[in-house]
């Protein structure tokens, strides 16, 4: 039997004298079987003018699953579209019940979503408005943070010291290994880079100055900031975002605790305290990395390297790096907490919040670094 024949065999449409269209279904109606399309019935429906009624006859069905229900639903839809009464005959009780169930609740057409789209200008406008909205929210979060710090200084903030300690532990000591590895390597890279250039002038000993000043003024704070953005900023956003999803933030609010004071303050304070310490650690290890290269590859003695480094480092240089590190700490904590607190209530929203916390933090850090560098240059700090 050919395919077409099998299909004709499965559905048989015939009309009697009163104009009743009888559609007989036979055989197996499952997804894995070959099935005719409902168009067959549509053709029979239109072929001889509208029938007075449609009778669906299903006593010949041997096997069925959702495929059969879908076909029947299409026929029901056809019948109601052309205002023809429809009756079911001889179907297994299961099929009839499922069909009734599927039609019990009418399709909520008003529930269908309208597609976002529109012209190019409309989309530009929408995204501009969204950016504006984003700026407003950032400003209001900034304001709330300042108010929370105000409450802290007046001694009225609800903040648990236990929380503060655990955050300090998490973003201070636990970050030491990664900061150490990156700083030593950055120090070595600076030394290599400098050595090639300085060799041209026979001034290898100034590698110590280059590494020392480079690390202390710039790279120590910058690298620590970026590490903390990826490590701690992401963790803040994910943590607070998940609390938002679990309604833990709501629970705080209804019990009269401000999430800003309870959750954001300890994180801000922890990073403000830890960032300078981590930066000092990073500076020391970076200089150590530079010294390794200087001593092993460039025939400088350790004493020479040490003396040259000490000579090059001024109090201003160290302080300028530490000021940067505090600013970076605030920025990382700010973007992490803001994205976490403003997170939506789903798993994907937590992912978005984490990503955007890291991206924002890194952008803020680089922008702040540039601004501070300009200020330092202008003031001669």
């Amino acid at each position: 039997m050919t395919k077409a024949n099998a299909m004709v065999d499965q559905v048989n449409c015939s009309r009697n004298a009163e104009g009743v269209l009888t559609v007989r279904l036979r055989g197996a109606w499952r997804f894995r079987d070959e099935r005719p399309a409902p168009d067959l019935v549509r053709e029979a429906l239109t072929a001889g003018g509208p029938p007075t009624a449609i009778a669906l006859e299903g006593s010949g069905i041997t096997d069925w699953d959702s495929a059969c229900l879908i076909f029947l639903q299409h026929v029901c839809q056809l019948a109601s579209d052309s205002d023809v009464p429809l009756r079911l005959e001889g179907f297994a009780p299961g099929i009839e019940r499922m069909l009734r169930l599927a039609q019990a609740v009418p399709d909520r057409t008003e529930a269908h979503r309208e597609q976002a789209g529109g012209s190019f200008l409309a989309r530009v406008g929408r995204s501009a408005l969204a950016t504006l909205d984003d700026c407003k929210k950032t400003m209001s979060f900034l304001g709330e943070t300042v108010l929370a710090f105000g409450a802290l200084f007046r001694g009225r903030a609800h903040m648990r010291l236990v929380d503060l300690w655990s955050v300090i532990q998490e973003c201070g000591p636990e970050a030491l290994p990664i900061v150490a590895v990156i700083s030593v390597l950055v120090g070595m890279i600076l030394a290599f880079l400098g050595s090639i250039q300085l060799k041209l002038f026979g001034a290898e000993v100034y590698v110590a100055d280059l590494v020392g000043v480079g690390m202390v003024r710039e790279m120590g704070a910058l690298m620590t900031g970026i590490i903390m953005a990826g490590r701690t900023g992401a963790s803040f956003a994910a943590r607070l975002g998940t609390m938002q999803v679990n309604e833990e933030v709501d629970a705080l609010q209804t019990m009269g605790f401000s999430p800003m004071e309870f959750l954001v303050l300890p994180r801000m304070i922890a990073l403000i305290l830890m960032m300078p310490l981590l930066t000092i650690f990073s500076n020391v290890l970076g200089i150590f990395g530079g010294a390794v290269v200087g001593v092993l590859m460039m025939d400088l003695t350790p004493t020479q390297y040490y003396l040259e480094t000490v000579k090059s480092l001024t109090f201003e240089a160290v302080a300028s790096g530490l000021i940067k590190s505090v600013v970076f700490g605030v920025l990382v904590a700010f973007s992490g907490c803001m994205q976490g607190i403003r997170c939506g209530r789903s798993a994907s929203a937590v992912g978005d919040a984490t990503t955007s916390a890291v991206v924002h933090a890194i952008v803020y850090i680089i922008v702040a670094d540039s601004i501070l560098s300009i200020i330092y240059t202008l003031t001669g700090f």
């Binding site: 879908i70 009780p93 499922m98 169930l101 609740v105 009418p106 529930a111 798993a347």
Partner: protein, 263 residues
Amino acid sequence: MQANEAHIRVEDLTMAFGDFVIQRKLTFSVRRGETVVIMGGSGCGKSTLLRHLIGLQRPAHGRVFYGKTDLWEAEPETRNALMRRTGILYQSGALWSSMTLAENIAVPLEAYTSLSTREIGDVVELKLALVGLAGFGGFYPSEISGGMKKRAGLARAMALDPEILYFDEPSAGLDPISAKRLDDLIIELRESLGATIVVVTHELASIFAIATRALFLDVETRTMIAEGNPRELLTRCPEEKVRRFLNRGNEAPLRAEQEEVNA
């Protein structure tokens, strides 16, 4: 396929987290087309038992059979094939939040059937209509209510026309009317599809409404202490704990024993 054939069989199952035994020596079977309720107080291991049945947690001891296949001895492919014929409604729906309802339901269809995109769309619409959510396909899980999430989860569980449906606390977190509607839906599905249904719940109303048979897991003795039709268990179970449980903690006199004594 016989109606009284054991569809799922559990033999001497012991569940444990490390050294901590949750339930031991569980032996029971679920027949084709039956609705079995696993009941018991909070923390007795109902949901853990479900995790063992659906292959999420390996038994410390004992075996789980689907027909003649041992779930935990089977090759991963066989196990996956078994699970494809099984639909699971998780406690809070467990819909994937980054997808719309329609996409949620379409995922198993796209992965495991050779249906065309149009046919998948038809199936998705049918399943949503069956759970009373026609027209909600474009919504994200975060935009609908808890009861709707559960029904959408059920639509996803039914996507592949499974032979076995598992329900984890179907009425938890629903108002009585929504819970009743979900119970009715479960009954309707059993009657029309002939599917085997296993429900984990402690909602008395649901237990009496849907169960053809119920198993009682006890917290203290850490094993199954009763099995049978819940209405009969209420009056005839020799274990007082079970009768109390089925009677909301109130005294439930033992009738059968009385009759036996009289006889």
